[in-house]
Structure formats: C-alpha cells, structure tokens
Symmetry: C2
Subunit: 396 residues, 2 copies
C-alpha cells in the first residue's frame, strides 16, 4: 500500500438520497413510468452478455417501430439527447459541407453551433421564435443555397411549435440533399413517420414523450446518410460517437467499442415496450386529447397559448406570460407549494412564456386539472402588486 | 391528427424485463451496490431543480474526495468512461499539439486515436502489453519529444497493470508539460492522489471500483489544464463535451447546457457516499486483501498471474491461459454454469489471458472462493482433449 496520506477530507453530513415527489410538467424531463424506474434499478449484466445483446436487438426493433423506420442504423446513443444530436452532426458533417438550417428557436442555433464545430458552412433562414416554415419558403432557400443537408426541428422544445415536414422528402430528393430532423420533443408523443417523410437523420431524447430518464438517446440514419458517413475522407472527429465503429457493436459483429449504459438500456426498453403495448396511434391520440384539455383549461383561467393551434405541439405548450406577472415567481410558487415543475422561457423568450409539458406517462387528464388549479392559485399570488415577502412560497 | 398509416409494425412477443443474476467478475461493469440500484430507480426531478443542484454539489464534493483533489473542475461527464476520456482529449488538444503516450496496452492506443482526431501529433514509447514504464525511461522520452501533454494509463483495463506515477509531477513541471492520466480501473479501488501526483487531467468510469452502473463518468482538470482549455484559439471541436460551457452548469452560473442524466447522478452520489462512509484508505486496503486472496487461490489451482506482483492491480487480475485450454470455453462455461462473468483478453492478448475483476462492492472474500471454485471446475471440463459436445455448458 501507499505510504502517502490523504489531503482531501470526506464531505460530512450526507445521508442516503431522498428526493422530493415532483410532478414534472416542464419541457422535460417528464416523470418516468413506474415500470421504467423498476427496470432501471435492476441488477446489471455485462455489455457483451448474450442476454444484453438480446436487449440491444429488442431496443433496436422497438425504436424502429417508434421512429416508423426500417433503417438498419437505429440505436440508442450512450448519452443525453444532445449526444445523439452531436452524433448526427459529427458523423454527417465534413469540413466544407454546406448546411441549411430552418431557424425559429433555440435548438436551431445549437444545430448551427455544432455543425460549425465540425467545419460545416451554415446558412439559416430565420423567422420569429415559435413560427413554422411553409414548404415554398423552404423550397426557395434550398434552391438558392443548394445545401448538402437540410436541417429542421420537428418539435421545438424552446417554443412548443411543430414544423410540418410533408413535402420535404420530394424537395430533398429533387435537390440531392439529406434531411436531418430534431425530434426530441415529438418522438413517442406526436405523429412522426421517418421513412414516409424521407428523413435521413433523426435524433431524439429519452426524457420527453418516452417517459424514460435522461441518459440515453435514440438516433436513426438512412442508408443514404450512412453512405455519406462511410464515404468520409476524414475520420469522424469524435471517437465516442463515431458511427462507423459504434455500428459494429450494435450490428452482427458485436465488436467492443465502449461500455454501453446497461441500466439506461433496460429503462429505454421498458419505455419503448410501453409504447408498443399502447400502440403509437393510440398514444398520439392520448397526447392530443390531453393537450386539448390543457388548452381549454388555460383559456378558462385567462391565459393564452403562444403558438397557433394549427402547429402547436400536443406534447409541449408555450403559454404567454400576462402583463404584470413575473414569470419566475409563478414557476417558483408552483414548485414550492405544489411540487410541480413547469419551465421558464429559454433565450429570447425568457420571461415571456412558460413551457408546460404533458409528455408520455404524464399526459393524463388529472395532471391537466392539477396544473391548471396550481397556475390559477399562482397567478392570484404572483400579481406584481403583491408583496413577495407576504408569500411563503416566494421567500428566498 | 395525421391521416398517414403506420408502415412499421410493433415487435411482438416481448414482456417486462427480466435479467439473469450475474456475478460480474470481469474487467467491468462490476455489480452495483444494492443501495446504488435503489437510488438509481428513484423518481426523477428536473435538471435545474434546487434539489438537483444540491445533488450536483454533493457529487462534486464526493468526487474531489475520491480523486483526492481540490480541483474546481471535478464533475461527472454525461456518458460512459469513454465520454470522459473523449472530453479530456477534445478539450485539451488543439491541432498541432504534441502528445507523448506511454503505450503498453489497449487504452493507450485509444488515447492515440482520440488525440489524433483532434489534430494532436502523437509520439508513443512502447513496451509489451502488461509492462510498466520506469521513471527514467519516461524522463528520456519527455526530454526528447518535449510534449505539451504526457499521457499515461494508471490502471490498464486490458492488462491489469499499474503504472506508478511517483516522480511524474516533478518531471512534468520541469518540462512545462501537462500530465493526463486514465484511472478507469483505479478510482475508488487503488491508491490515487491526483493533487499530490500533479495530475492535470484525469478521467474514470463509474462501473469499475465505484460499483455504479455505466453511463456517467468522473473527470477532473487542474487549473493549469483549464488555463489551456480557456486559452484555446479554436472552439472545442465537440459541443456536448465542451468544458468551457459545461463548467457554467456545474459552477455558480447554473447555465443550462444539456439535460444531465438525473438518475445516473443519483446512483453516482450513492456510490461515492458509500466510499466516503467506508473511507478511501480502508477501501484500498480491502481491495488489496481480496486481490491477495485471489492470487493465492489462482496459484492453488495451478494458474499464473500475467503481471508482476509489484505492479499488479488489486482491482483487476490478468491470468495466463494455460497451454491446451481454449480461453473462451472457460468464460462460456462459468457464465453458463455459475452465472459468473469473467473477461477474455482484448486485442493482442485475446486468447492468452482472462481478466478477473474484484472491484468495489464485489471485492469480497466470498467472491474469491466462488470464482476459484468455478475456474477449477471449468478447467477440468475445458481441457482441449475433451469433447465440447459432452459438456452441456459449452453447447451452442
């Protein structure tokens, strides 16, 4: 043994973990289904165990159903949603590649940042946050910029807007362009047809409509997209996410790459199995029904939705903060009094909207009743003319 | 709702997850402590919840104790061990940077691969797998190549060898060079003194001596290393792992970067708390005692350790496969008959060694008794002159 002495002492006063019973009605994470948490806590097996290889196959089959794709490369990335997003850009973008990004929210900017780190040359077309792009606007931009990759956010977590993708397939085919789509807040809750819409690269997160904790992230790539990856002149500028190596672990070869997050794979399997048991169409309909009840409830207490109903996401609703109300006081109040998390606005919508998610397991009418009641109470307490100090839930 | 029809049908025949009760005595993952699994399965809270920010602070304090460092940047990376490894190289290496890697195992080659993807210019000094480097050999190479970063594997998961690091601090200081160390198979099980040894960048995994499932990965960086990161001329070529942004989420600013893997952070906290409760020195001594019993037991059944005892890891023992025995038959046999996972050799040691890990919670004398009995049984059944078909555990 070493004869050196410890110089950093252990932290004191810590005991076994205990967490408050939050209802997660923000932009994600949503609450995991109880069966998912049970699966998550099961004892580990090895990442090359025959039983784990079986679970990997099952996760791929379940993901193909959820994405509605036959893509061979359909896998959970070993990280959070941003890791599957990074994997998409790291693999597809080579220095000098031209990308066109439809920019009407926070995550389009992240796309740009990531693409540029890999040497991509990015053009954006821009609209106010929370808007959607019409097909003819996109067509004009594609024909002008001739991108190798067209990037869209199907379900924008920062605004609650849905970008319709009908017609993009034909547009991309006519212009020899790959279609890359962010489905972080739609997968498993909002109609999504990867193959029929001609999406070539599609990433998502686990902690939104899948009702699985964050830490594993679905990704699918078409053969056309993989052809581009396999034809790269340079190595993927990221070892961990390099799909040319990762695919050999998820494919027939089973070549060791990195140790997969075993328990997160258990949890994802259970979450996806719950979707298959319910049926995708039934699940989409449930999200729509719950959202409609939420929108009605918001109207009843005098609140307005930020996004037009036509392209408003059922999974995530942006609510306009009324004149004279401090947005953060309301989120703080409902957390302190009701153990409810709702989201504040992000970026340029900070202070202007709240974000209310009714995702996956949480998409239930009783949750609508609860969040509307809590919001009503909060608004009465958080009017700007009230003293903050008078409210026990807003202190400190 | 969409009027499109599903084209990919759901997989059938799947039911709720069930996993075999494996004893994970390979190179990792090791079995998680039951308290860690309980914490993992707890209900989620949001990644910006005040309670979660508290857990983040606790994880940082507990990691500082476990690493024996005062480094401000001491965090769990949101991915597996290879993600914290990638984070280290992605942040520290700028195109043209000169690195020297001590190469005597599989993971030195991975270091080289990663460093080169970020534009690093790599020199290696090479020894047979399972060797260690003496200080004067390292000194000669550092003085010859004048690297900006010297890279060593403290505990090599592919060989079970321990690279002593005493004297590296003075060497690096004298040559104005950063010291980067892989501690994947040592953190929490083998004496490690990040500050006293002058380690500037150090990464590990959760699924070895910490007895936490894979999916979150400790990382620490000295101020000197962070100075290099903050002085970069180019953006970190990786958005997800960019420490200049990640540090603002883990630091006072609490700026949202990506959604942290909430439940993996719960699990890590419990795993690290168990280390603090036991005490680092007591835990290191336990690993040494268990390893000694394993080495004695191996000798008794006629097996030899591959690495000299002087620099043999207590956490992971490489065992030489005897003449006439098919290595994979033995691993297959103990898995099938005893639910025990031990590891095969990796890379050039494939077929030549087994890798037996007694890590973290698994480092207990009863596990030594079990694995030795199972190996003894396996050796009797797996002699090359026996028919494979006669053994029910080796069929298919």
């Amino acid at each position: 043994m070493s004869d050196m002495k410890l110089t950093v002492t252990k932290p004191t006063g810590l005991s076994q973990l205990s967490v408050p019973p939050r209802a997660l009605f923000g932009p994600g994470p949503s609450n995991a289904h109880p069966r998912v948490l049970l699966a998550l806590g099961m004892r580990q097996i090895g990442h090359l165990d025959p039983k784990f290889l079986e679970i990997m196959n099952e996760n791929q089959a379940l993901l193909r159903y959820t994405f509605q794709t036959e893509n061979s490369i359909t896998i959970p990335v070993s990280g959070c949603g941003s890791a599957s997003m990074e994997s998409t850009f790291a693999n597809l973008v080579e220095p000098g590649d031209n990308l066109l990004i439809l920019n009407a929210g926070y995550f389009a900017l992240r796309m740009k940042d990531m693409a540029e780190r890999y040497g991509g040359v990015v053009q954006t077309i821009n609209k106010p946050w929370g808007s959607k792009f019409d097909l003819d606007e996109v067509k004009a931009a594609v024909e002008q910029y001739k991108p190798k990759i067209l990037c869209a956010v199907h379900a924008d977590t920062s605004t609650g807007a849905r970008q319709p993708l009908e017609g993009f397939k034909e547009l991309c085919e006519a212009n020899d362009c790959l279609l890359l789509v962010d489905t972080v807040t739609s997968l498993g809750g909002v109609p999504l047809f990867v193959d029929q819409w001609g999406i070539d690269a599609c990433y998502s997160g686990s902690q939104k409509c899948l009702s699985c904790p964050p830490g594993i992230a679905p990704l699918t790539m078409s053969d056309k997209a993989m052809d581009k990856v396999l034809a790269r002149k340079t190595k993927v500028a990221n070892w961990y996410l390099d799909l040319t190596a990762v695919k050999k672990y998820w494919g027939k070869e089973r070549t060791y790459h990195h140790t997969a997050p075993i328990n997160m794979n258990y949890a994802l399997r259970e979450a996806l199995l719950l979707i298959a048991e319910e049926g995708l169409e039934e699940r989409w309909a449930r999200h729509q029904t719950t959202a409609k009840a939420l929108w009605d409830g918001l109207k009843e207490i005098g609140l307005e939705c930020y996004v037009d109903e036509e392209y408003r996401l059922p999974s995530l609703t942006a609510v306009t903060v009324p004149e004279g109300v401090n947005a953060k006081d309301v989120t703080k109040f409902v957390l302190a009094k009701y153990n409810i998390e709702i989201g504040n606005g992000l970026g340029e919508l900070g202070g202007k909207i709240w974000r209310i998610g009714m995702m996956g397991f949480n998409s239930r009418l009783e949750n609508v009743t609860l969040v509307i009641a809590a919001l009503k109470d909060a608004l009465e307490h958080c009017k700007a003319d009230r003293s903050r100090d008078a409210c026990p839930h807003l202190k400190k």
